[in-house]
Subunit: 199 residues, 4 copies
DNA sequence: GATGAATGAGCTTTCATTCAT
DNA sequence: CATGAATGAAAGCTCATTCAT
């Protein structure tokens, strides 16, 4: 009986998940707007109406996908050992974030796509990084007060971190031969670090 | 008679330009896909069919707009005095590019939007910068051979330049109080420079 | 055990009644066609499929509701004392019918709605009144043969009675200050009576 | 040239009119809600999208139809000669209104259908009569002040007029043999007149 | 060139109904 | 009896594009 119940729940979860999977696939392939809900349902192998049984509308599906990916990313990036030097803590975050991006190229690109959606407020773009790395602003403030990091406006520094992160993952995803080389990954971090370190 | 002819030609050019202007406006406001051609025509104050007299289809309109903006940007960024030191030449380019972006926020954002369009190949994103700044790769190569810049893969460096450019203009457009401060603009360049300068 | 069985039967009757109640509520609020079965079930606090356990389909639910209301109305209108003068008998029916309509505004409006449904034959409209007041045609015929009522076609007179009944209840429901005044109720009857009485 | 221009205008008016005609036909046959826009377009012999070129949405089509019929009815009912006695003036209005209803049974029934639509405020029902017969309230007030009509609330009298009008046209439309007899038409008016005349 | 009515494929969403549990 | 996930036909509506004028 619990078996049955489990099967049922799993079945419905399966269809919902199939829909999310299909949506992710199609969204990054042709864009969110350009992807018809009917195509998502068809790709997921469910009926047209099933999509709207699980999600109130297309927008809700997008948001559910967004949320699930953000949570997955946040869980994948473990907080660094706070006893380490600042630079090491940042390297930990950097590598974890890059690693997640490289391991989940589609999910990463979906986040990137949403971040550039003109219908979202531009300032929300940082949310992507901030949600995944709530520690980052604190570490930067700490670095500045300790005299390790240059005393520039936080917004400027965060902006650069965010942008360097996005572009690095994109580049490495597109040119995997660079990603294989650990030195290259380190270099990308160094460009960021030396850019914001006090001289 | 030639008067008439002139009026006519000017009229048609006017309508074409009105269409481009309206399209730019609407594209950055609601996205390219989400903007109906009928709405562009209406905003431009011309008839529905007129749009398709001047542009074969919607895609052609997008491309014409893209081209015109790229050309305008390229013209606005004058080449630096090649006798200046490398750093000064880069500062010149940087400031000219940023300035153009801040002076034409809508056109800049349209380029940014296209660069993130999933239907375009990802690698084409660099085209934006490269077309506007054909000099940049040369200067970087020169800086590396002179030992001024770190010896990292060109792709990595260009990628960083591109991304720092995009995000800086976006940030300054959104928070104009930062853009007013020249030190801030300089700081943004410094983050880039110290990131890639040989230590 | 019989206890359980009773509970069960009562439960199912409860749910069936909840469905009828919810349907009545929603039907008069938004119309029959515009009311989704899912909404009825939700309002009734039962599962989607439960509705189709108790009623073969939506149409059957509508008809069950129709029938139950017609029966309730017929029971509420007691036959007049046949020894009274004709006018008094008619007043009795008139007041009982109006009273029922005012006391059950939702049920009354549902009947009114169905009576105007184009998918029902128009002539069926009289059915509402005739079913509730099977006595009316007899009384009218009697009045005519006694020379109290004008000698007009029955159809015309019945039609007028029906329509005056519907519109009076609607008016009084909408403007309750009129319904409070017993003279007003009497006036409405008088307009009907003097309209058809022999002069 | 004016020929061409006329053709064009007439053509587009034709399609718009075809849509209105088809809509009227289908609305009274199966109800407004139950009539699909696609069916209207098909019946009118135009493409699906053409309907939405002429009317913003289905509701707008309904309202346009409503308006055009109300105007047509208002124009058909000429005001009576004000020098005639009150009763004659009312007879004039009565006959004109009934006549229009009998000559345009579909249009009449559409008005009747809208008047009973639960989504419209109930009090708006009188609007049908009032718009067509703006003179009626004045004449009734005049009749009351002259002591010809009984001194009952206007709402009650108007309500009765409205209802008698609707039911008479409906009955005569359904049983044309009654409508042929002018005495019958007169009788229907008499029922109304003697109902509200002062005794 | 310019117009705008017309098109019809395609979109998102709704909904009565079914059925395995 | 009761559930609610699943279905797919059909709804209202949008939109890029065409074409006669």
């Amino acid at each position: 009986m619990s078996q049955h119940s489990d099967d049922k729940r799993q079945m419905s979860q399966t269809k919902k998940q199939q829909l999310l999977d299909a949506a992710l696939h199609l969204f990054i392939e042709q864009g969110i707007q350009a992807t018809a809900t009917a195509k998502i349902a068809k790709t997921a192998g469910v009926a047209n109406g099933t999509l709207f049984h699980h999600f109130a509308n297309k927008q809700a599906l997008v948001e559910a996908l967004h949320l699930s990916i953000k949570e997955e990313m946040a869980q994948a990036i473990t907080p660094p050992d706070s006893s380490l030097p600042l630079r090491e803590q940042l390297i930990h975050l950097w590598q974890a974030a890059i690693q997640w991006g490289l391991s989940h190229p589609q999910k990463f690109q979906f986040l990137r796509q949403l971040a550039n959606d003109p219908q979202y407020p531009l300032s929300q773009q940082h949310a992507m990084l901030s949600l995944a790395l709530p520690l980052l602003p604190q570490l930067i403030a700490q670095g500045q007060s300790e005299g390790i990091l240059a005393d520039w406006p936080q917004a400027l520094i965060l902006n650069t971190c965010h942008c360097q992160f996005l572009s690095t993952v994109s580049l490495f995803t597109e040119q995997p031969e660079l990603a294989i080389d650990p030195a290259c990954l380190q270099t990308a971090f160094d460009m960021l670090w030396y850019g914001m370190a006090r001289r």
